[in-house]
Symmetry: C2
Subunit: 546 residues, 2 copies
């Protein structure tokens, strides 16, 4: 189904459905007024667009209420859209794919059902944020670190469901989830893995039960609503090092990738490093407007990039990473990293280190000194972000930095192509992207998330959401990137609501066999097409036939 | 469907189907004579049982031939059963669930399609054995170790599909697989993950594409036939330590588990240790018949167990594990292990160490000295097995040891309950099992596979397959264990063909919601019920209605 068809299909919430929802929930858990709904729009959309405007928002507190809402939606043939916290801004935030959908907001299902210090896991509901889990662990005085992304407001479940990445040794968030409770479109409650046996204590401990393992198919899909999840935690390490490596030249990213890869493959570096280019660092962390660097037409030029590198001290690329473990092991690993990095001419390694017990008191409770104002404080600001995130201490500090152009609300769309973790290929991609961005007169800000064999390049398109033409252009350019990238073999790992069909379409092997497979599953589980139609480009036959 | 119904449903292969298969393949790739079919029976079944006798065996060499066979099976309404190598003896080996099935034997689809040293992965077909991959890596002189189980004859794909475990740092075999090509019941070829984009080089590198991740649902299921898989490999470590810890008393398993758990959680021990009880070690490695230890009625008594511990030097439990990495890191980790284990009174740590380059020349090419004959050589025999397996060097040595009672072919069934990796709980389970076995007059031989949060106890029931009553009793007792274990919250991770329905039935949450979910998926993908009906207890409505 294309977007214009979706627009025509916009549901208007039946007043009888709303009345039934109010009857089921308290009135304050049913939002249908424009003011209340504003919070559930795409925050980075232009104010006058309503392509993804919600019809109403309901906030269940229990699994039974979720089931009841699904029954109502089916009765009134109204599509629902589920969000946990809905904080994946840059990809649409809490907004539904189909305008006018009944949004099931799970923020009030926010119980932490279990935290076990010995076995290092928690069981959470979808409304539990990284903040909440962190605070509860502190409150109980447990020596556990949650693995978190750079912003702490998101849902632990929602983030894992969308293939999120964190920066402790358990940074592969789909992989560190273990066991789901899911409500299917027909209201059936299913528990996956060992949870499929009533009361089995290994539910959050072992991913596979007997027979197929289902967790993966509930991620980035619309096959069910996750209402509980096991979440593995990192035992507080004896020692923690937060470090960064800078390299002076743009093309040094090739050497950096090739030097880091063996260290990731053998676990010397156990977390997911991010390599930022200087445009990202200067843009997100230096606290000065773009005019500080560049005032003419077009993208930042080489002179501006050089000045950025010089004034921030970030080099052309800065890679953050961390080490965790017994002190003697961590010291050896740091030495190994230092020796490996020395092969890159002009590279610089900096680091901070703490005993595990000191980390929260020093980085969270103590006020850390504010970095210098302006570009010379950019790297220190990034360091403060890295030190806390990589230790599982959540914050919202990064939000302060996202406005780049002066005036208006700074928005962004993210293009996130995957490539092999091979220096030549990563450099090739970065040069190709920088060229394309320059042609468009746009700045190329990149964050490369490095796993042992693959690299996800998070490329942010920044725009002023008050400027409709600029916003439109960013959306269009993102679509162009998706298309052109696919021609070069780059698959995208996440995308904005508007581009889900397009991205799904780039996964085209054997006449889109996987998309056809998804439709078969969708039709079998949700023949009425009630549950989050269009998520990840999966619609089901019901919508194709309309 | 229960077993007696399955018996009645036994397919007789239609001669016209056989002729069509011969036309499709060479005649020597279609086996239908009793002699030829013998190889595809359950090797540990009683000779006169034909509950799982194959009807015919066909051996495709290409994906197109697999598709054509599925079309024929559908035309003749004959169930197929797929095997890769079919070596999961103890669980049924190559034998089909429904007697008379057309077995699709994938041993001749045995190409290694790719090995990449830099990114440390291979892409293989289902006929590729651990032996084959190991030999090809050696032939090319690559510094890579495959992760393997203790017997090297199995299929890399088949093992991963059945939730196999290995003993390098990539020992979670479902987790170290990345990207599948699958033929669905209707013949559609699907590629999962990044392979869903035509020609995407990240197929074997990143598990998730855009949208749901499907690999898990093709494991231990009958939703498709895996014809290609990406398989991550371990870069040859600079240094390798193979070690074992013994503890003197049966109840020391509790302390052992609690001491090892933090070392697994923080990655100090990066592989999957196995803790064997002395009955397993004396039975499998001492090369003397059971009479050496015990001649009276009933299970081995305490005196026999004490003598076993004394004569083998294995203590009550022996845990093997390994360390891999830069030499200085490994030395620190070994010291940390030593210090931690010292808390267990009477424990002993032994180890061997090698530079990575020496491992294959020393352990595989050189003839290692034969251990002493009899019980005093048991631990050395186990050490030789551990040294090679944990370094990815395949062998069949373990097969030599499986006959326990004198006379007849030694067979075994494995009961494999999962529990939390908590000392008290593991001890509780082991005492419960030893008691149940003793009541039955059977020996309790246990191998505990320890992952950071869960323990799989592989309990082997040994019997003489020539003795029908003894064999029957083992089958019946396995069923009893499955039932009684489930009452205590133990889920089983793998089981014999005969017990698949029973085990599936123990996963009973919400009136068997997950089984009902599986049936919906099965019906959607394979409405005719052609593909491996009954695998993992999944039949589909077609079979329920017959």
């Amino acid at each position: 189904m294309n977007q214009s068809t979706a627009d025509e299909l916009r549901a208007v919430i039946d007043p009888a459905l709303l009345r039934a929802c109010v009857e089921l929930l308290d009135p304050e858990r049913v939002i249908a007024d424009p003011e209340g709904l504003r919070e559930f729009r795409d925050p980075y959309s232009h104010a006058e667009w309503d392509t993804h405007a919600p019809g109403a928002v309901v906030s269940p507190r229990t699994v039974e209420e979720v089931q009841a809402i699904l029954r109502l939606a089916a009765r009134f043939d109204t599509p629902v859209w589920t969000i946990s916290q809905g904080r994946n801004n840059g990809y649409g935030g809490p907004a539904p794919r189909v305008p006018g959908s009944l949004v099931i907001n799970l923020r009030q299902m926010n119980r932490i059902l279990e935290i076990d210090e010995e076995l290092a896991y928690a069981v959470v509901e979808p409304g539990v944020r990284f903040f909440d889990l962190f605070e509860e662990i502190r409150r109980r005085g447990l020596k556990l670190w949650p693995s978190i992304p750079d912003l702490g407001w998101g849902s632990i479940i929602g983030n894992a469901m969308d293939h999120g990445v964190g920066f402790t040794p358990l940074g592969d968030h789909p992989a560190r989830s273990c066991g789901l409770e899911v409500v299917l479109a027909d209201g059936t409650v299913v528990r996956t893995g060992m949870g499929a046996m009533t009361g089995n204590p290994a539910w959050p401990l072992r991913k596979h039960s007997f027979g197929p393992s289902h967790d993966g198919i509930f991620m980035q899909s619309n096959f069910g609503i996750a209402t509980k999840m096991g979440c593995w935690l990192v035992p507080q390490p004896e020692y923690y090092v937060s470090a960064e490596l800078t390299v002076p030249r743009e093309q040094d990213i090739a050497a950096l990738v090739d030097v880091v890869r063996p260290l990731l493959l053998d676990g010397t570096i156990p977390n997911t490093p991010i390599a930022y280019n200087v445009t990202l660092i200067a843009g997100a962390f230096s606290g000065v407007p773009r005019e500080h660097w560049h005032t003419g037409e077009g993208a930042l030029d080489d002179a501006a990039l050089s000045r950025m590198a010089e004034e921030t001290g970030a080099g052309a690329w800065l890679m953050r990473f961390a080490l965790f473990g017994p002190e003697e092991v961590v010291r050896e690993q740091l030495d190994i990293c230092r020796a490996a990095f020395a092969a890159i001419e002009g590279s610089r390694l900096t680091h901070r280190e703490w005993a595990g017990d000191e980390v929260v008191p020093r980085l969270y409770d103590d006020q850390r000194p504010a970095p210098a104002e302006g570009p010379s404080g950019a790297v220190d600001r990034l360091r403060q972000q890295s030190d806390t995130t990589q230790a599982g201490i959540p914050s919202l500090d990064l939000l302060d930095n996202l406005s780049w152009d002066e005036g208006g609300v700074g928005g962004h769309l993210d293009y996130s192509p995957v490539t092999e973790l091979d220096g030549r290929r990563v450099l090739e991609q970065t040069q190709w992207l920088r060229g394309l961005f320059a042609e468009e007169g746009l700045d190329y800000a990149a964050s490369l998330m490095l796993s042992p064999r693959a690299c996800i390049n998070i490329v942010s398109l920044w725009f002023n959401t008050a400027d409709e033409a600029q916003t439109r252009r960013a959306y269009d350019f993102n679509a162009t990137l998706i298309r052109k990238g696919a021609e070069r073999g780059y698959g995208v790992y996440r995308t904005h609501l508007d581009h889900m069909d397009l991205v799904a379409d780039t996964y085209d092997f054997n006449d889109h066999a996987l998309a056809r497979f998804n439709r078969v599953i969708k039709d079998a589980l949700d023949p009425q097409g009630i549950l989050s139609p269009g998520r990840a480009g999966i619609w089901g036959s019901k919508w194709a036939d309309r």
